[in-house]
């Protein structure tokens, strides 16, 4: 992750049980978060989960109905005390989904606008604008109309405009969603490098889990206006606290069964599940993801990331524990690997990624290993 900038640990932004309703529906429901100096914090969730509303509450573009928002020891919105600081007095930077590059201004004028509002002398404005434009490789475009740039350039311009006055916090509202796939990846890396170099604090909103995982120091998964889980990308990916977080972050293979009697050999916290359907007779073991112990006989599901399943050709050897046998139904070559649908005899199948080190065939029988340390068991 690179060297952490100085001052890490100091809290820049705190949300304390913040709620916002639109007519009857709660868009944001009692959300509490705290964001530390120098980190990239991401709000991740499907559309309509309240992440953009949360961001707009922080920006001051919406007023909270309940709760309190604190920005660097200054309360900027408090429903209880009827206190509200206008967006222009919060010293935040924001990059909008549409970039919101002002079409009636040139590149220079767009970036200079916030500095002029802060009453900087002309020379200082020119110098600061030139420096920030150079930083993102837009030097030389100063006199072009802001909207006569390519998508990636407009994005950089919007970023410059948000950064040029060194805001306390940079807000990014799905800034990559209007870019094509290649450019998106490139901008992601650029933003991350820039953030590390300048040590700015970023609150980032996205529905794209790849963006969220790759860009964040910490992230919060939101669902129906609530925060489901907060943690580092790796912690959330590997130890999701809820089925929603598990399924939203990355791919998951889920199979159902019921809790078997505690079997010998399973360690502490381990649960063995007897599979049902066409897999009746097979058992898999994994870590209990729920807080409570699972009673024998209760319906349960096992979950595992597809890349954690060990796939081998079926050599018709003896049946082993923690293995299932299946057949490749459909196989497609997607460049760096194969994508295979493996079924267990019934209608349902699971989708796996297979290495291209071996030639696979449709109809081939495979042996799937489910390492107990990577399998989780959830109450159904």
């Amino acid at each position: 992750m690179g060297a952490q900038p100085a001052g890490v640990g100091e809290t820049v932004l705190t949300l304390d049980r913040v709620s916002k309703r639109f007519s009857e529906a709660a868009a944001v429901d009692s959300v509490s978060l705290s964001i530390r100096r120098g980190e990239v914090f991401t709000l991740l969730g499907p559309s309509g989960c309240g992440k953009t509303t949360t961001l707009r509450l922080v920006a001051g573009l919406e007023r909270p109905d309940a709760g309190e928002i604190t920005l660097r020891d200054r309360v900027v919105a408090s429903a209880a005390r009827r206190h509200f600081v206008a967006p222009n007095q919060r010293n935040l930077g924001m990059v909008f989904q549409s970039y919101a590059v002002w079409p009636h201004m040139t590149v220079f004028e767009n970036v200079a606008y916030p500095l002029q509002l802060r009453g900087l002398p002309k020379a200082a404005v020119r110098e600061k604008v030139a420096r920030v434009l150079d930083l993102v490789g837009l030097g030389g475009t100063e006199s072009r109309p802001g909207t006569r740039l390519s998508g990636g350039q407009m994005q950089r311009l919007a970023l410059c405009r948000a950064l040029v006055y060194e805001p306390d916090l940079l807000l990014l509202d799905e800034p990559f969603s209007n870019l094509d796939a290649k450019l998106r990846e490139q901008m992601r890396v650029e933003v991350k490098l820039l953030q590390r170099r300048l040590g700015i604090t970023v609150l980032f909103v996205t529905h794209d889990q790849v963006e969220a995982l790759s860009l964040s120091d910490r992230l919060a998964v939101m669902h129906r206006g609530r925060v489901e889980q907060v943690g580092s990308p790796r912690a959330l990916y590997e130890r999701p606290a809820s089925a929603f977080v598990r399924d939203f972050l990355g791919q998951t293979v889920v199979l159902s069964g019921s809790v078997a009697a505690p079997a010998s050999g399973s360690g502490p916290g381990r649960v063995t599940v007897a599979m049902n359907g066409t897999l009746t007779g097979c058992t898999l073991t994994g870590r209990n993801a729920a807080e409570a112990a699972l009673a024998p006989g209760a319906a349960a599901t096992i979950a595992i990331r597809p890349e954690d399943i060990q796939v081998a050709p079926d050599d018709r050897g003896p049946r082993e524990a923690h293995h299932l046998l299946g057949a490749i139904d459909a196989l497609s070559f997607v460049g760096d690997r194969y994508e295979a649908r493996v079924s267990f005899g019934g209608e349902h199948g699971i989708v796996l990624l297979l290495t291209r080190a071996r030639e696979w065939r449709e109809g081939e029988r495979v042996r799937l290993g489910f390492p107990p340390e990577l399998v989780t068991v959830w109450p159904a």
């Binding site: 573009l61 924001m94 006055y165």
Partner: protein, 572 residues
Amino acid sequence: MAGLSDALAAPRPRRLELPGVLCTLVLAAVALCVVFPLLLVALQSLQVAPPGQPARYGLDGWRAALGEPGLRAALVNTLTVTFARQLISLPLAVLIAWLLARTDLPGRSWIEFGFWAAFFLPPFTVTLAWILLLDPEYGLVNTSIAALPFVGAGPFNIYSFWGIVWVHVVTGSLTVKVILLTPAFRNMNAAFEEASRVAGAGTLRTALRITVPVMAPAILSVLLLGTMVSLQTFEVEQVLGLPFRFFVFSTTIYDLLVTRVPRYDAATALAVLILAAMLPLVFAQQWLTRGGRYTTVTGQFQSRVHALGRARVPVTIGVLALVVVVLGVPVAFALLGTFMKLFGFFHVPDPWTLANWRTVLGDELFLRSLHNTLVLSIGTAVAAILVHSLIAYIVVRTSYAGRRLLDFVSWLPFTVPGIILGLALLWLFLGVAFLRPLYGTTTLLIIAGVIAGMPLGVQIIRSGLMQLGAELEEASRIAGATWWTTYRRIILRLMAPTLLAVGMITFVGAARNIGNFALLTTTANRPLSILQLDYVAQRKFEEAVVVACIIMFVSLAGALFARLLGLRSGLG
């Protein structure tokens, strides 16, 4: 429509904060200038004492109004004229808007300008021009046809129901619809049409099955607007209807007001009736423009044009002929009329003269009126841009509790005939102590002009604002700008074309306004539009048509100016 909106995932309208005090101030000012006068009108309808005597309240006015023998006829006439106007002009306007916006019609941008310019022509001037052509005895068309062998008399009579309908169609009805609908058609997402073409439909079927239904909200909105305007027209009926005792609502009211003892009670009772009839139309209009019904047609798409193919030549000729009828004929004949010794009489020996121009231009009254008109029109345009944009902004962008009310109130000036609004303003300015000094000043006329232009001005700015992404404003707020700075440096700049268009429309509206000003002017603040009316009243038609021509040229200059600034505006 809901399905389409959902498919395009229209974002929830965003509400920004504008200090509630300012909003309330605007609402209060608008209420004082619009609602209060209308309440005075309603109150006046119950005040039955003749002018100059102590007030006495009763239902005599209503009885007189409802018992007025001509009322039934006026009601029928108003409705039938309105219906005939809309029936002819709407399909024609939709067709022309579609041709201008969605096909490769040659010279379409100049043709569109032709309709723009025609929209700016004062109805009074146009009416005079058509009299020259269609007068049953002396009209040039009639005398030409009568000169043909085997034809007895000319077939046309402008002093008739169809004469009135004709003049209406070629003045306001058609052109206003074309200039409002064309931008809306232009902004429609071409993908809707392309999907239909790919699915196997031809150009015509696509237009009828896809384009027109998708545009239905805009078309309906224009129809409602047109109907409201029709219900309160005045000049055309006053000039053409009087000779054959054909009255509509507004001329009946005028008749009640200009008799020796004005019947304010009966006139205002009739006005209240019209107001009541208009309210459902206002509610329908508001329902249409609310809640993203327009979001199906946003400007972010490339709109591609259809090839007309073999129909190109005949269609072009047809549309050009229409431009000649709505623009060329009135301009040419109004101008011709100014050079006639006796207006409308082509067959007198040596009918041409320059004396009319000399008389008018040498008249000191004229110069003062010209000055008044210019001050009035420019003042109205500037004030209208500020007031209308503020109202539109509050309605579209803020979460102010009274924004719906403000939106509704901004429609009210359309709900009563101009002459009644003028009368109501007269009572307001004579009745309220701190406004009394304004009587007889041009400021008073500017206020009247801003109010008269309010419904159209607010609506045009409003639809422009709805297309302007809220994020452009929000970005400015986040960058540290106050609301006022954002309004000045972002909103006004981005809305400049729309605002200038509204400015031009109100400029021209004020230059030619008769109904609202007729009762508010004194010799000190009399503008050209009232001067021409005074000339008519003195039977000086030749002078009147000279003044009408000058108003027309001021209007056309306005249209050209707007065009040079590259303005395009409308609903959608």
